[in-house]
């Protein structure tokens, strides 16, 4: 049995729930036959991938849903072998560059050239071109992006590219110039509630109290539709009637981060720094992205400190986040930020104490 998120994932543009205007535009683009390269961007969980899948379906018909997974071997310039799984149908193909790390340039070039040089064999295909979907395009290396430029122009008759990313700032300008930019905003709370009602209806139940729970879930999900549906299903498991005291469970790492935030404010000492460090290591070793760790802890800290400190704490969070990206060892910068916050906090109290003695 699949999860509700997958079970009720819209398959066609008509099934899509919110942003009707956008869906209509995608439909007319797909119908016109002169489909451009596209870049879908927006916060995670807003439904970019679903929208892309629906657009493909509109372009090529049901055939795109027949997926097969190919195991391919690529050779890096240093003669290392790379095994990559590629999901494809007769009409399109998907790559996630982060799966191949620093060699994304090689893999993407190989794949694109291959597609560009082969003609669509299926005579009944509605379009002459194949579509290459590149997920998480913001993690493409600069090299890979540079390599895409001329390829996107040269092979346009046989190939279209759809890029999917959270933000546009990590993509170089020439790439953005070659794409039609499509912004997919996060759904509003009302829209999310509507989707949950729809899912409930399909499952054959009604959300009690005018959908009070749904509203709470939507608030908590902060625009992430995927998260909302996952929580919704989990709650339904917890209590079949969706009544009574329901608690939206936070993921472990989030509570863990919050604990770290509390520790920072409880005691500011070298000993405490060491304890925090152990916890940070723990989080990192569970593959929680360092930026997420930093932001979650910072959120917790600013919730609890005095107004006059908040801005400064966020300022240093921004500074250390960028250093973390430029540097090599994430832990150094996370820790540096923690120490900075502790010192700010302590100073703040110290000042107040001192002022009492004037």
């Amino acid at each position: 049995m699949s999860l509700w998120v997958d079970l009720y994932r819209p398959k066609t543009l008509d099934d899509l729930h919110y942003h009707e205007g956008l869906s209509a535009r995608l439909r007319s683009l797909a119908a016109s036959g002169d489909f451009p390269h596209m870049l879908f961007y927006g916060p995670s969980g807003a439904g970019k991938k679903t929208r892309i899948a629906c657009t493909l379906r509109e372009l090529f018909g049901k055939g795109v849903e027949k997926l097969k997974i190919d195991q391919r071997v690529f050779l890096t310039p240093t003669r290392r072998k790379l095994d990559v799984n590629i999901v494809q149908s007769n009409f399109h193909l998907e790559i996630t560059p982060s799966e191949v790390g620093n060699y994304d340039r090689v893999v993407i070039q190989e794949i694109l050239k291959e597609i560009a040089q082969t003609q669509q064999v299926d005579i009944n295909a509605r379009h002459r071109f194949k579509v290459v979907v590149i997920n998480e395009a913001d993690s493409l290396t600069r090299d890979a992006q540079a390599a895409l430029r001329r390829t996107m122009e040269k092979y346009m008759t046989n190939m279209r590219i759809i890029l999917c990313s959270n933000s546009t700032s990590k993509l170089i300008a020439p790439i953005k110039s070659r794409c039609l930019l499509v912004r997919v905003p996060a759904p509003s709370e009302d829209e999310m509630v509507k989707v949950m009602h729809y899912v409930a209806e399909r499952q054959g139940f009604k959300i009690p109290d005018n959908g009070e729970v749904a509203r709470e879930i939507a608030q908590d999900a902060n625009g992430n539709m995927r998260k909302a549906l996952l929580v919704f299903e989990a709650l339904k498991m917890q209590s079949v009637t969706l009544t009574g005291p329901l608690t939206i469970a936070k993921p472990d790492w989030e509570t863990y981060c919050q604990k770290v935030g509390d520790m920072i404010l409880q005691e500011q000492s070298p000993k405490c720094v060491m304890e925090v460090r152990a916890k940070l290591y723990e989080l990192l070793s569970h593959c929680i992205p360092p930026t997420v760790i930093l932001k979650t802890i910072a959120d917790r800290v600013v919730e609890k400190v005095d107004e006059s400190l908040k801005a400064e704490i966020m300022h240093w969070a921004a500074i250390y986040e960028i250093r973390m990206r430029q540097g090599n060892k994430k832990i150094f910068h996370l820790e540096a930020w923690v120490v900075k916050v502790m010192s700010l906090y302590k100073q703040f109290f110290f000042d107040i104490d001192m002022s009492g003695f004037d």
Binding site: G21, L29, D34, Q109, R149, T168, A173, V302, A317
Partner: protein, 356 residues
């Protein structure tokens, strides 16, 4: 042979490029250098080379979508005609393997045969067909410094029979010794008039009606990038994608304590704007989260906020300067790949402080 011929033709015919389906950016790529809009300086110099048949090494630089690649391809086609194009022009771009040894091999191979001029082409026209080959290194800014350094020797070694054309977005990424060997051509972002006339020309050729308002909108959103405006023209999309709506910017600015004039037709309610004057950290953070949820491009948001602040009637010079500093800092951070939410917040807080 004659038996197979029709058969072979039928297959591609099924998939032949139907011009009506061709993306307009490719369909209306300039065919001759005179067809290139706006870049008068480059075109004037290059036109002379068509008659004198002498060509310097060249370096084209400028922002995306301003006609660099198109110009050199058009020039090469006009110099050599369709028949000799393949044997005389070598195009290497960032998608090709460009380790320096490979480049050297390719260039060596390519430059080996001395070019023979065959003046009358199959299409009946005569082409100048000057006695050298052109090597186009497109997207040269993604070549490593070492590769560029090695290129110097190669350029000299084959100077007699080859001309190089380097193309890049940022001229500063090309090492000085290489740049100094070339005549430089700067490709400017297209001015509004050229963009407008090119777009109208395409619209007429495609029999689509475009109002001047739409053209203006296209010019505004594409900021001198003709490729982008052509793509948008063809997609006839609502255009609201790239620019952040004024309403959002003003609302955001108001949260930061900047006085904004609110047009009547905007659905920002005046009370909330007044209330926001005393915004605190939490209010600003909430607003930032809202903006991030909408998914606007952060750099676009900042650039529009910048415009609003710089042109603001009542803010003092000092306040503007401090805000500009905050924006510059953030722009750099975003280019380095920083987290958008953290940096929009950082900018917001700094501007809030500056205008308080």
């Amino acid at each position: 042979m004659s038996f197979f011929h029709p058969q072979q033709q039928r297959e591609p015919a099924k998939h032949a490029v139907d011009p009506s389906l061709q993306p307009w950016v490719e369909k209306y790529r300039p065919k001759t250098i005179d067809d290139v809009s706006s870049q008068e300086h480059a075109v004037a110099v290059l036109r002379r080379t068509l008659t004198s048949t002498n060509l310097p090494h060249m370096l084209f630089y400028g922002p995306p979508g301003t006609g660099k690649t198109s110009t050199i391809l058009a020039l090469a086609r006009q110099l050599f005609g369709p028949d000799n194009f393949r044997s005389r022009v070598l195009e290497l771009n960032a998608s090709d393997e460009r380790g320096i040894s490979i480049v050297r091999e390719k260039i060596k191979d390519f430059a080996r045969q001395t070019p023979r001029a065959q003046v009358v082409a199959s299409d009946g026209k005569t082409y100048p067909c000057p006695p050298y080959k052109i090597i186009i290194l497109d997207e040269a800014d993604s070549m490593t410094q070492d590769a560029q350094a090695a290129l110097r020797r190669i350029m000299e070694n084959y100077a007699r029979i080859t001309r190089f054309c380097l193309i890049c977005n940022y001229v500063t990424r090309i090492i000085e010794p290489l740049a100094s060997r070339c005549s430089k051509f700067r490709f400017k972002p297209l001015d509004p008039e050229s963009t407008s006339s090119r777009l109208s020309q395409i619209a007429t050729a495609e029999h689509v009606d475009v109002s001047p308002a739409v053209i203006n909108m296209l010019i505004y959103t594409s900021q001198g990038d003709l490729r982008r405006s052509i793509t948008y023209l063809q997609s006839a999309s609502r255009l609201a994608h790239r620019v952040v709506p004024d309403r959002v910017i003003k609302d955001f600015a108001a949260t930061l304590g900047i006085e904004v004039t609110v047009d009547n037709d905007m659905d920002v309610d005046m009370d909330s704007v007044k209330r926001k004057r005393a915004a605190n950290f939490d209010a600003i953070r909430k607003k930032v989260k809202e903006v991030v949820r909408e998914g606007y491009s952060a750099s676009q948001l900042l650039s529009q906020l910048h415009d609003l602040i710089v042109e603001h009637p009542t803010l003092s010079a000092r306040q503007k300067a401090q805000s500009a500093l905050a924006l510059a800092e953030a722009d750099k951070a975003l280019c380095d790949g920083a987290d958008e939410e953290l940096w929009i917040l950082e900018v917001a807080l700094n501007i809030h402080k500056a205008v308080a």
